[in-house]
């Protein structure tokens, strides 16, 4: 379920090229690539964006999670090509005929454009995912001035999940030993997950209570707290942030401007 790789990455071998790019730059890259792919309708350009983001991913490393996300989306894109190719409201020109069924050019192009955008987002997010670790992100965000509360809110899920999953498997095993019958109706199925879900929810909330007490006992909100250094040295981070943000603003501005022009 959860990405074991990003969860257990704690050793720091020698830095690779992508380690010299800071996490915020990588996040801004996702934003910029997504905006770029949304600002064009040309399939050739979309193909270009896909290649660039795919290359970034290939030059870093490929993780099973990214492949899973890709696989899921590719399947959806395929159904999108079928549905839009058949039924898109602006369909006029027949592109190909399979077993007597007509697939229209307009629908296929429409679905392909949407699909390309989805792929660009997945590939650029994949690059962020496989090249950063949770603790690196946490340390960097704290250095940039985010409060520990906010960072805890955003990142602790990644640490809580594996434990919840383990608890769930424990409870499920216990239920299996008790011998539950295969359920048929939705109501029966819903009822059958209650013996797993209720103890798990209570245990999880109990743990949150305890963690809330413990964090305060351990002084997490002490004003003297100082952020730790990140394991890597980043190059040109401020420049990258400014230029990527400028690009994002320009792309959004251009989009808004062209929409306004439509009405003028």
């Amino acid at each position: 379920m959860t990405d074991q790789r990003i969860l257990s990455e704690n050793s720091h071998p020698k830095p690779r090229w992508y380690n010299t790019i800071d996490p915020i730059t990588k996040l801004l890259m996702i934003l910029d690539f997504s905006l770029l792919s949304f600002s064009t309708h040309r399939l050739l350009l979309e193909a270009g964006f896909i290649s660039v983001t795919f290359l970034l991913l290939l030059l870093s490393k490929v993780s099973p999670t990214t492949l899973k996300a890709l696989g899921f989306s590719l399947f959806l894109i395929l159904t999108m090509l079928v549905i839009q190719g058949l039924f898109y409201s602006k369909n006029q020109v027949v592109l190909l005929t399979i077993l007597g069924v007509n697939f229209y050019k307009e629908g296929i192009i429409y679905a392909a454009t949407l699909g390309s955008r989805v792929l660009v987002i997945i590939l650029s997010t994949g690059f962020f995912m496989v090249t950063t670790s949770i603790s690196e992100n946490a340390k960097y965000l704290e250095q940039t001035g985010l409060s520990y509360r906010t960072i805890y809110l955003l990142m602790s899920v990644c640490y809580i999940l594996p434990e919840m999953m383990r608890n769930m498997h424990k409870i499920q095993m216990a239920q299996k030993v008790r011998g539950t019958n295969p359920q048929k109706t939705l109501m029966q199925k819903l009822k059958s997950i209650l013996p797993v879900l209720i103890p798990l929810v209570i245990k999880t909330l109990d743990q949150s209570m305890e963690r809330s007490i413990s964090l305060q006992l351990r002084g997490f909100n002490n004003p003297k707290r100082r952020a730790l250094a990140t394991p890597y040295h980043y190059r040109l981070a401020p420049l990258a942030h400014i230029s990527l943000t400028m690009i994002a603003i320009l792309l959004i501005g251009w989009q808004i401007w062209s929409k306004i022009n439509l009405f003028l």
Partner: protein, 277 residues
């Protein structure tokens, strides 16, 4: 011992909102700084509530009605909790719930309290290594906290609590998931600790070896306090507490101390055997 350096509880009562009966009732007790106080009693006797009051969790974090007065080493847990909190090291019952939630390694986890106090990184590394060594976690320093066993997690919680070198240690059943060897090592270590220590535990034998005082709780009342020797030589059946093994053995063998009391720990047992023969 200077008066304001000691531990004093006067008529301490605690009641959670919405509950019918108080969880702690009119507790009055004394101890000296630097002593180890073993807190015993069966479940729901109020041991955890007492730990939460002593650490200031009640009423600062969990709201409850607290009456009576209490000071520890001259400090009140209520008046300036953040300052008081820096003097204490606390280990709660469930070790997994005490992880900071954002540490990749055991070393990072132990360092958490120190980072919060704004201590220099070089000092942090030194203290982390010391705390890990004391709890036998040196080999696990680079491991992920999630990969530890229950007993190791408890040792990690203790290591985190002692890394800041607290004056007062409050430990709520810190060995429940440890194996016998780990538990033994822990109590041997605790015997040498300088901090004032409150420890809730069911390990009567171990407590009798190291505790200066035993407080017996029953249904929210402090029903007995004194040295292990005094308390277990006047054990009441109502408390539903087992006598220490030394005591049981000596009673069966009729090995008495010169005072005609029974021994409660190994040292006393030896004296008793000596005195009998």
């Amino acid at each position: 011992m200077v008066k304001n350096q000691s531990i004093s509880l006067k008529n301490l009562s605690v009641k959670y909102p919405g509950s019918t009966a108080p969880q702690l009732k009119q507790m009055t007790a004394q101890a000296d700084s630097g002593q180890i106080i073993g807190i015993v009693g069966n479940s729901r006797s109020g041991k955890t509530t007492l730990c939460q009051v002593l650490s200031g969790v009640i009423p600062t974090i969990i709201s409850a009605k607290v009456s009576g007065t209490y000071t520890l080493n001259g400090h009140s847990p209520v008046d300036d909790w953040p300052a008081y909190n820096q003097l204490t090291g606390v280990v709660l019952q469930n070790p997994a719930g005490q992880l900071s939630g954002l540490a990749d390694t055991v070393a990072d986890e132990i360092a958490f309290d120190l980072i919060n106090q704004g201590i220099q990184e070089a000092v942090i590394t030194k203290r982390v290594n010391q705390a890990a060594m004391q709890m036998g976690l040196t080999a696990q320093l680079t491991q992920h906290p999630e990969s530890l066993s229950g007993g190791q997690l408890q040792r990690l919680a203790i290591a985190s609590a002692i890394a800041t070198d607290p004056q007062i240690l409050i430990l709520d059943d810190p060995t429940s998931e440890m194996d016998p060897v780990g538990r033994q090592q822990f109590f041997n270590w605790l015997a040498g600790v300088k901090a004032t220590t409150f420890i809730v535990s069911n390990e009567i034998d171990d407590l009798c070896e190291i505790a200066d005082l035993i407080w017996v709780l029953q249904d929210g009342h402090l029903v007995a306090q004194g040295t292990p020797h005094q308390v277990f030589n006047h054990l009441s059946a109502n408390w539903q507490l087992p006598a220490p093994t030394s005591f049981q053995l000596a009673q069966k063998m009729n090995w008495r101390l010169p005072t005609s009391d029974f021994p409660v720990n190994f040292q006393e047992l030896r004296e008793a055997i000596h005195a009998t023969n």
